[in-house]
């Protein structure tokens, strides 16, 4: 909008060398250059140049403050709330392989929690992608697929795991306690938790392999 109004300003155009001829061109770069030129000349005339520089400096100061502030708040909150920026609620669940798995604060590797059920269509869509990503990053992170067993059938869950050949631990939330702790309202729901036990990302619904991998890369970085 700004450069449209700029183009209408014949006085400024006349004072800019060869501007009249150049204006016929719809070149984006030329318009932008002219806009910069106008800002300078306008400011000098109206005493606004200094004001703009000051605002510009203020923007830079805010940018630096933002970087400093981000460094201060990166540790997240100690409260166990299933939202990004908070400590992931602690829990311990047994898995299909009869082992027990724990999520409780700081850990050696980041962890991804994926809530699913065998009757969930989108979970079926997502399963091959999760398997592929796990196989690629299993040395750098833990991946726990939490079956919502309280709302699922254990035998169906077992066949689902067999059908897709899921290699990661399948945790069984038999009483629905963990699903409630993590406020799972729709499945699949995925949480990305860093080594400090802080939730970095929460995804409600299916995500494609490319985006999922981006989140994983961010987590293991």
């Amino acid at each position: 909008m700004g450069w449209i109004s700029t183009l209408k300003r014949s006085k400024d155009m006349a004072s800019f060398p060869d501007q009249k001829t150049k204006l016929d061109s719809s070149s984006f770069v030329r318009r932008l250059c002219f806009s910069f030129y106008s800002v300078r000349s306008e400011g000098k005339r109206g005493g606004k140049y200094v004001k703009r520089v000051l605002v510009f400096l203020f923007i830079i100061v805010l940018g630096v403050l933002a970087i400093y502030n981000n460094m201060q708040t990166k540790n997240g909150s100690p409260d166990q709330i299933p939202r990004p920026g908070f400590t992931a609620p602690h829990f311990s669940l047994s898995a299909l392989n009869n082992q027990s798995y724990l999520v409780a604060g700081k850990r050696d590797k980041p962890v991804i929690l994926n809530f699913w059920a065998s009757w969930c269509g989108p979970c079926r869509q997502e399963a091959p992608d999760l398997k592929m990503i796990y196989e690629k990053y299993q040395d750098q992170l833990d991946f726990y697929a939490i079956n919502m067993t309280a709302n699922d059938d254990l035998e169906s869950a077992k066949s689902f795991v067999k059908e897709f050949g899921l290699p990661f631990p399948i945790l069984l939330d038999e009483k629905g306690v963990v699903s409630k702790q993590y406020q799972v309202i729709s499945i699949p729901t995925t949480y990305f938790i860093d080594t400090d036990g802080i939730i970095k990302q929460k995804i409600i619904g299916v995500t494609d392999r490319g985006s999922f991998e981006e989140y994983v890369k961010e987590l293991v970085r």
Partner: protein
Amino acid sequence: MLLRLLHQLTNVEWLSMTLSGYLGYLVISRMLKGESTRDSITDVLFKSGLILLGIWKLSPLLLQPSLLSDDSLNLFSFLLSIGTNQGFYMGLVAAVCFVLWKIQKGIIPADKFAEVFPFGLLTCFMVFFLLTRNIGTATDWFWGVSIDQSVNKYHPIGVYQLIFGVSTGAFLALSKRKGSPVSFRSFLIWFSLGQLMMTFFQFTTPFFMGLSMHQIFYLLVAGISILLPMSGGERKSQS
């Protein structure tokens, strides 16, 4: 029951985003009631919303075109999947370009659009942050709020947005009534810096050079706005 359902639905960010965008659209439409330009402006806004939605949804494919040649990829999952953050900003840039193109073609008047759009944008932000019950980092200040039986208290970002939106809206309306309306460029600088300062109270995930994607976006908007030349109305009011 209905309240609980609403509570759960608004936890889904993209649903809250769609609803708040629609309310912003309604505010703009209402402000243009009786104006000859109402249809053209609302039409362009609706289409730009669709562009944003489409690009956001297809952003994984746009950002990683190699996925198209991947035989094992299930394309059906794209219909169900959500978009990416980068895709959202790409869609936003495309939507802004679309509006600028329509202005340039003379289909919608720039001055009228610049007059009503800030109110729609402020409504959209206020509603979104209130619907999602957005909270920031922990605070000791007495107005901090607790959620889900938390030990600490947190910055009520929704309330901050409400105060910012209402005061900015009132200032814009009063300035217009006094005959010296605030220019769109000044609004953009004020708005983006306000939003940037609000991120100081929020948990952020650094994306580039220690800044989050939101912060980079607000800094860019403020920076570009300040470099843009003054509009006709702005120059007139200064002379």
